[in-house]
Symmetry: C2
Subunit: 223 residues, 2 copies
DNA sequence: GTCTATAGGGGGATAGAC
DNA sequence: GTCTATCCCCCTATAGAC
């Protein structure tokens, strides 16, 4: 707790944004929680939006570096051969879910991140795209190489569904509660459950896509 | 467009809530869009919260009735025997994704619903729990019967992950865009893709849960 | 039922003292 | 770097005319 004002504001903002969302969190709530003055936000960050961006970038950059490092390690080990899908899933989603178990702010941040994708504000979308560009490119390439039998478009949808499952695993506590009493206190169990589910979905039999919508005569083999 | 003021307000609110979220949508935006007077909201609904509740209940009640009707039909057909998991998934998620393809407000509503689970406000959580109570009970029972080999706790997590995938399938357009250019205009294709993925995840091999958290000694081998 | 006008509260941002 | 005081804007809700 003996950190500087700037860090205290970031920590307080992270926690309150996770709990109340971007719009409902006020600078007054943040500065009160951080035991700082209202004007301190504008002094240190310039505006509420700039503060929010700083909250995200602080941990998201690090998270995606970890993902790439994990992928690098697997690829070095494989020496040019395609990775196992399980390894790529581990590098992307495993790293995330492990960060979500970290009690030192990682958990709070991942919950915030998880709820942000479905409530996108323009300025957030913008810097998220920047932060994700490299990691997405790397993982797409790795997956395409590892799953040559899965059409790339089909894979992208599956990746998207996997992101949804991850998001709920991390920040869907309220939806979870709808299902009845359930123990969500064991991060290792959550990790194991999510990995099974994701790999099951990723490796599912391919759907038959019936091209009855005339709009896009989907060339399944040509091109 | 020749509907009454009350309906126009509901339609406008649905659309704006979907786009901007609960907090960032103001009554002024809604009444302007609905070509109604600002005071009309309070006259017809009493408050902003009551309006929001009406927006959700209008379609959610109907959606869950459809789900139960679909389940009833499968169960009548099976005559007491357990259903196939695919049928139950179809009754719950298929109905939802079909409503999400409906251009007559269903699509807008489902996108709103999808983003709501991860940005829960207290009063929303409350009536969502009411609206879901029956359908959740029915589907849990059906799944437990259909999947006797899957521990119930494991199934609940998988159901939760499936909800996450559904949510992204419906309202994660922004997250999807991060992955690159992708065609999301074909509802039939989306339906087929999501069903494959969900069933793959639901039927995945069970994870090994290592019970090192003392709380729940899950008897995997030694206990 | 629908309007205008306004009350009453809270928001983000900033000027200027210390 | 940190504070107080304040500007100006927009919000929800409601009173009261029509």
């Amino acid at each position: 707790m003996e950190t500087d004002t700037r860090s205290r504001i970031l920590d307080a903002a992270e926690k309150l944004l996770m709990r109340h969302g971007l719009d409902a969190t006020t600078l007054r709530m943040i500065t009160t929680e951080a035991q700082a003055n209202l004007a301190a936000v504008n002094y240190h960050f310039g505006s509420k939006e700039a503060l929010i961006e700083a909250v995200f970038r602080r941990r998201l950059t690090w998270l995606n570096e970890q993902r790439i490092a994990a992928l690098d390690a697997f690829e070095a080990e494989a020496g040019g051969a395609p990775l196992k899908p399980r390894q790529i899933v581990e590098a992307f989603f495993g790293v995330a879910i492990r960060m979500a178990a970290d009690q030192n702010g990682g958990q709070t941040f991942m919950r915030l991140l998880g709820r942000t994708y479905t409530e996108p504000t323009d300025f957030v979308r913008k810097f998220l795209a920047e932060e994700y560009a490299e990691v997405i490119a790397r993982f797409k390439a790795a997956f395409f190489k590892a799953l040559p039998d899965v059409p790339q478009e089909e894979f992208l949808w599956r990746f998207h569904f996997m992101m949804g499952a991850l998001s709920y695993a991390i920040s869907g506590a309220d939806a979870l509660r709808l299902l009845g009493p359930i123990d969500d206190s064991d991060p290792d169990a959550l990790y194991a459950r999510l990995m099974s589910f994701l790999i099951g979905g990723l490796r599912a039999p391919l759907p038959e896509i019936h091209a009855k919508s005339a709009k896009k005569p989907r060339a399944r083999r040509a091109a």
